[in-house]
């Protein structure tokens, strides 16, 4: 039994699990960390295009809330077709043709700029459904329940960031906040990791893993977020990732070996902590170090 790793008066700590490359083990690690913490945690699946942490957490769902995002609604009576909105829009979501404005809502990034710049006050927000925000709890360890939430983008929707922001903004009392982030290094990943106290980049020791790790490292450095690397399936592949990390002064927080039992457990939806109990202690210790590091920083 682990002792509590956080003192009650310490502010919440947000740990983002990201990767660059997909399929390196973000969800496996995020769910395992939530279990290994030994204290109540909030786990947020921010991979809204394909949320799958719930398969491992199996929460009891409390609520499924419809989420929307604003797109411009143009009052044709007031619109003078001056084109200010179309000119401002960086996403080509508005055009002026035949003396009237046309909105292509699926291209809109909901920045609200068109509404602000319209000299005729003709633009208002129209809320369109983008998906659901699902909340639940896992009570596997009654002393350390997992407060679970996920964003789930509706089929046909492509703008993930508004739903990721909503998933991050749900209020929670837990002192440890774990984010299972989307892969890649574009807007969804950046929206998910932004504002975190620490980022873990999960990678694999392959040329693909290294290529995408380098992109992810550049991204989190640009965002000025402290980070470390975890190498999954660490006893496979080549030495490229380690060489890169050493050359760039990047901490390797943990190496997880390839094990048939882990793969088998994953395919059943079982947790990493159950499949490789020795890792649970290592993850717990790593969390302790990260959170203490933050305290002394």
């Amino acid at each position: 039994m682990h002792t509590n790793i956080i003192q009650p008066d310490v502010p919440p700590f947000t740990l983002a699990i990201a990767s660059g490359k997909g399929g390196t083990g973000k969800t496996t690690l995020a769910t395992a960390l939530a279990e290994a913490a030994g204290i109540p945690v909030t786990l947020r699946d921010c991979d809204v295009e394909e949320p799958n942490a719930h398969l491992f957490i199996q929460p009891q769902w409390h609520s499924h809330m419809e989420q929307t995002r604003p797109v411009p609604l143009i009052d044709s009576e007031r619109c003078t077709a001056c084109g200010a909105c179309a000119e401002l829009c960086q996403f080509n979501a508005i055009a002026i043709a035949g003396g009237r404005s046309m909105v292509f809502a699926e291209l809109c990034h909901s920045c609200g700029g068109c509404r602000r710049i319209c000299p005729a006050g003709a633009i208002s927000d129209k809320e369109v459904a983008i998906g659901t925000l699902d909340c639940g709890t896992q009570h596997k360890n009654p002393a350390a329940p997992i407060n679970f939430m996920q964003g789930k983008l509706a089929i046909g929707q492509v703008m993930a960031p508004p739903l990721i922001r909503a998933t991050k903004q749900v209020a929670a009392n837990e002192l440890l906040n774990i984010l299972d982030c989307p892969p890649g290094t574009s807007c969804p990943m950046i929206t998910a990791v932004r504002g975190s106290d620490f980022v873990i980049l999960v990678t694999e020791p392959t040329p693909f893993g290294l290529n995408d790790l380098e992109l992810a490292v550049e991204t989190v450095r640009q965002l000025q977020l402290p980070f470390a690397v975890i190498i999954n399936r660490a006893d496979r592949g080549d030495a490229g990732v380690r060489t890169y990390c050493h050359a760039n002064n990047i901490d390797i927080a943990l190496e997880i070996p390839w094990k048939r039992e882990i793969a088998a457990a994953y395919s059943r939806g079982d947790s990493l902590c159950d499949a490789a109990p020795e890792l649970k202690g290592q993850l717990h210790t790593m969390l302790q170090h990260l959170m203490c590091r933050e305290e002394t920083a």
């Binding site: 080509n92 055009a95 043709a97 035949g98 046309m102 292509f104």
Partner: protein, 120 residues
């Protein structure tokens, strides 16, 4: 009539660019005076999204009343149609050949987009 041709180069011998939104540029020909001008499209060639919409907007703003191109997607089509711009699809190899075909009445006016919407 001012006609915008999607083109890979700057003169009438240029290849007719099969892409509308991401065409290299447009050659706008005034069929009454035979005067031609170039409308750059570099920005849209590299746009992350909405290239067709913006290209259509630029063509409309340039005062073209007809477009001759290889392919035109649904969003660009919608903008051009709203502005009353006629659209002609053709496989003619060059801008000059397409112009000749247009003037000879060999090109039929399109009443819908001929390719699907796409993200890149």
């Amino acid at each position: 009539m001012k006609v915008a041709f999607s083109a890979t180069g700057s003169d009438l011998d240029s290849e007719l660019d099969q892409r509308f939104g991401r065409a290299k540029q447009f050659i706008i020909v005034n069929t009454a005076t035979n005067a031609a001008s170039i409308l750059e499209n570099t920005q849209n060639m590299n746009a992350t999204q909405g290239a067709g919409i913006q290209a259509a907007q630029n063509v409309v703003n340039a005062g073209a009343t007809a477009v001759v191109t290889g392919n035109c997607g649904p969003k660009a089509f919608q903008v051009l149609q709203a502005a009353g711009v006629k659209i002609y699809h053709t496989r003619q190899p060059s801008v000059g050949a397409a112009l000749k075909a247009l003037l000879a009445g060999e090109l039929g006016e399109a009443n819908r987009a001929n390719v699907e919407a796409h993200w890149s």
